[in-house]
Amino acid sequence: MCVSVPSSSSRRRISGAFNWCHWYVLLFTLIFLGTVRGEVTLDQRDYLVRSWQSEDGLPENSATAMVQTADGYLWFGTFNGLVRFDGIRFVVFDSVNTPELTNSSVVNLYLDRSGRLWVATLGGLVVRENFRWRPVDGLSLDSGDYVRTFAERTNGDLLLTLAKGGIWEAVEGRLRELPLPPGERGAGYLGFTDEEGRWWVAQYKYVGCWDGREWQAHPEMLASVPEKYRPLGAAPAREGGFWLFVGHELRRYFRGKSVATRHVPNGNLGSISTIFEDSLGTLWIANYDAGLTEVSPTGRVRRWAEEDGIGYKDVRFVFEDRERNLWVGTSGGGLQRLKPRRFRSYGYAHGGTARLVSSVSADSRGNVWVSTFGQGLFLWEPVKDSLDRIRPPVWATNSLHFNSVLADREGRTWLGVFEDDLICFGAGTKQHIRAREVGGQVSVLFEDSQGRVWCGAGNAVTVFEGEQTRQFRQFRLDSGSPGGVVCALTQAQDGTIWASNRRGVFRWQGDRFELVLGSDGQPLLDVVCLHGEDKETMWMGTSGRGLLRWQAGRVRTVDETVGFPVKAVSAILEDDHGFFWMPSRQGIVRAHRSALADAASGRAMKLTCQLLDTADGLPSNDCTGLHQPICANDPQGRLWFSSAKGVAVVNPGELQISQTGPPVQIESFRYVVPSGIGGRTSFVVNPPFPPQLELPPGSSEIEVHYSAPNFAAPEKLTYQVMMEGRENAWQPRGSDRLERLHTLPPGHYVFRVRAADGDGVWNEIGSRLSFVVEPHFWQTVWFGLGVGTLLISSGGLAGWTWWQRKVLRALERGHLAEERHRAELETRQLREELAHSSRVSTMGQLASALAHELSQPLSAILRNAEAAQLLMRQPSPDLKEIEEILADIRTDDQRATSVISRMRALLRKHPLELKSLSLPEVVDDVVTLTRADALRRRVRLEVEFSGKLPSVRGDRIQLQQVLLNLLLNGMDAMSDQETEARQLTVRVRTLNGGFVEVAVIDRGSGLPAEQLPRLFEPFFTTKPQGLGLGLPISRSIVEAHGGRMWAENNPGGGAAFFFTLPAESEAQTS
């Protein structure tokens, strides 16, 4: 395989064509260790760029301005609405769902010091404060005009400049228009403020300052600028004052003087939309038509174009969130996130397919040697800051496949060649050590603290001492079982050399490697990397069991049970701050040594650690390399890692790990309440939430939506929730942002949620929402007691009612009005209790008939569903018919529901509720309920309404109860009659004197004369299973309504029960 690509001058030299072989040798010698450039370039972007477009959920492919509110959300404007973003989900506010936004084209946003969000739309301005929207009155804007800039003093006063030229100030909450300074009419000014809070405006040929009465021009700020350049941009400066972009210079003005200047070559960038200074002092100039320009504090200028990932050249803003991600909004190219890389990576722009970095080693001068498997050898030098391919010496090898590289302190480079020999070169050394001499092809290279180089190959460890590489000693690793290539070599704090292969871990004892045993006296298997902590302690990475901590013969494990995120670790590298960096196939695990020790010893239940991956700038998650050393510390303390797609470097001192975790917000609370007849109503509660939400009885399907705004790695967020009042332990919820609770028993609850960011840092405070699910009356303790009492003593109660009435009469006689009133109240309560229990028992009689009522629609649903199933199995199903089926199923379901709700209405206990009622409706309801029963008993039910009936005032449920009772009695009375004779009539008619009479007439055998007077006495019954309460209760209900109830025998046979109720007009006047 040829590896050389001679330069063109070299080519001319070999064209001299004598013995070309000689030339070739000479040529190789000349370019020994020379570099070859061009083919491999450095991937040195400092940011990871991610883009969001319409197809990712933006309402429109633009982002016009951005702010971050205190709750952590990012808000940005588009031409089709205002968007709230939590890193995952876009919530759009537009003129449809937010009527205050009269126009959905949001062109500018501003968050003031008091947390108010100002939303500038085309032709309007809206403020959002405490979750409420409010249009700003008093600002005269025509439809095409908008607020172009906002500036704010430290006291909260605002300066607004309009796109068409107007200048307004909002001082102490009042808007006032300022006079226009000189300048072009109809063109807007830029507004900004200085360190003293003075208002400044700038326009092409004018810069001026407001002195409280008039505009003072500052032509000197434009003085040194050639005529053709004009002031184009301004921004507040982080260090005080403001930045003014004038011509080809950015100048910072502070206390009236220019204190800093940054030169921007080819300065005329066309129209500038905004300028932004980030937290590192870099200025970002966003252009309407020329992309983005980055000007660093050192003056380095970088242009960002579409091909750099910024979407489109029409850039509207750059914004920095609290996690230090930069956001670039464009018109037409969506929204871009520039996330600072934690790792810089060096790969190849035009590399081959085999990119695997096999090994990395740093020498004492700070150079980093990178061997690859298939792409040759590379060198990174600090001065060049680029990874360049270099040639190993010609005498040594022409292979591009290297197992392992080690740069030692002597300045020599050791290189293990795939399936070949070990080479050592540099510092005057030219050494070729045969593979068979070291025991096979090289699998580990290691330099100890005394400068000895150790080489593992096959199951042999060879040590090279001193400058003479020819003198070496060799040892075998013998675990008692065959096989096992040496995979790790390290040195403990006491200087002991340790080695491992898959069969065991070994310690060098002067002249041989001795097997190290675990707590169980067995060899330690599958240990692939070693890291000595102190004399007695050795950390071991395994290929499937996490991390082991060996301490004087005792082994403790750190694995997934304590939250160690990977199973296999390929190396352990410790930085200057005590953190272990452990490459794996899933990325690099970072954890502090003491945290690992705590997790290993059981002192900590949960390990705090991070798994760093491509989202942090690694070129690949697979960082396992090929052979040790696969990672290295350089003299500056930086850490170098090999990966499947290049090499990555991190400065551990600069790594930012959040301390508090992401903010957590509860976004909405939803629940469903049963309502009306079989209906359900959904409720959504949005912030701001009351201190305690109160949910009506029967609330179900509770949903809590929450989110943790996070922008560095939103996809890595994990949540935990706790429902205090039900269970008091955190429940993991993964990345779910929704908690669903089908039902909750009545009680007081606090929903709590917390989140951890991609670095595993929890926001322990999280968010909470307190709520109460109110009990149904039958779920209350009082009701339970009440029912118990009622059942036991219902007889007694009835008797008491009767007695009460007697007492009442006595009291009436004694004119004790007050006493009577109280007694009446008590009686009414008792009556209600009793009426309810009587209703429950009456419904029991109807149960069989109602079951039939229910079975009809349910059977129809069943058959319809089966028919639909059959139809669906046909080759071309008749969709129209299936649709009809579904419609019918719906209707039947509603029918069943209405039966249930009618029943439920009757069964419900409720206080007396007087309403205007239509008697025919009440009668119809009851007749519907009893129809099935009548059919079963073969009784014909007839209803007669005579003439125009006035409405009555009464309680629907109680009147229904009276009727139901009479109808059931009537049907019972006819059970012995011939089928043809069984007819029950309900007749409603108006009586003179403002009463309505209801009669229930049966064709039974009538009432014996001696029974007539006792019919309405409690406990008088003619039925074997009757309680004798139905009629007395009915009469008391009717009397409570101001009516009368009695019974008669019909002239033509059978009995008739009558009751009267006052017509409404009468009831009102009485």
Binding site: S848, A851, H852, S855, Q856, P857, L858, S859, A860, I861, L862, R863, N864, E866, A867, L870, L871, Q874, E881, I885, D888, T891, D892, R895, L935, R936
Partner: protein, 214 residues
Amino acid sequence: MTPSPMVRVVDDDESFRTAVSRFLRASGYSVRAYGSAAEFLADSTWQLPGCILLDLEMPELDGLAVQEALKTAQCPLPIVFLSGRGDIPRSVMAMRRGAEDFLTKECAHESLLEAIQRAVVRDAADRKMSARLAELRSKLARLSEREQEVLREVVRGKLNKQIAADLGIHERTVKLHRTNLTTKLRIQSVAELTRLVQEAGWTGPGPVAFPKGQ
């Protein structure tokens, strides 16, 4: 092509009627639905094979009454009863009166289909049988009075000589009548003739009066 058996659904509950009709149609039956017993009795298409799916509880004329009425009208269709609730005494009564099956409305669809299928098969068998009988009866009707008398005697197992004596005709004439009989009825043996006549429930033209003077 033979038409698929027709199931007559008689049920006052419209939604159930529609649903079960759909289901049966999707299962491959042709279906005709009736909202009341009266409607069904008025529109009788009994000649089409199939069965009746009859609701037990209907206002006015209920299922059992319909069963009675059909029996009176000699409707041959087997009846499968459906009831909203399992009512044991009435189901027993229905079965005793010859219902094919008695099911609740929410029964498993396998049971329903099985019952319908059984009823349809029975109906088909009944129809086959009655068609055969009808044919036989029409053939018998084509015989002359004398031939019928001879047939009756033959079936009773009498010899030609006895028949001739009983009927007061010549034995030769009897033989001639017998030849005519076998030709008209297309029957070869006396045994077959006997079986056929018994099957048809034929008793001949009634007791024949002896000729006067004997």
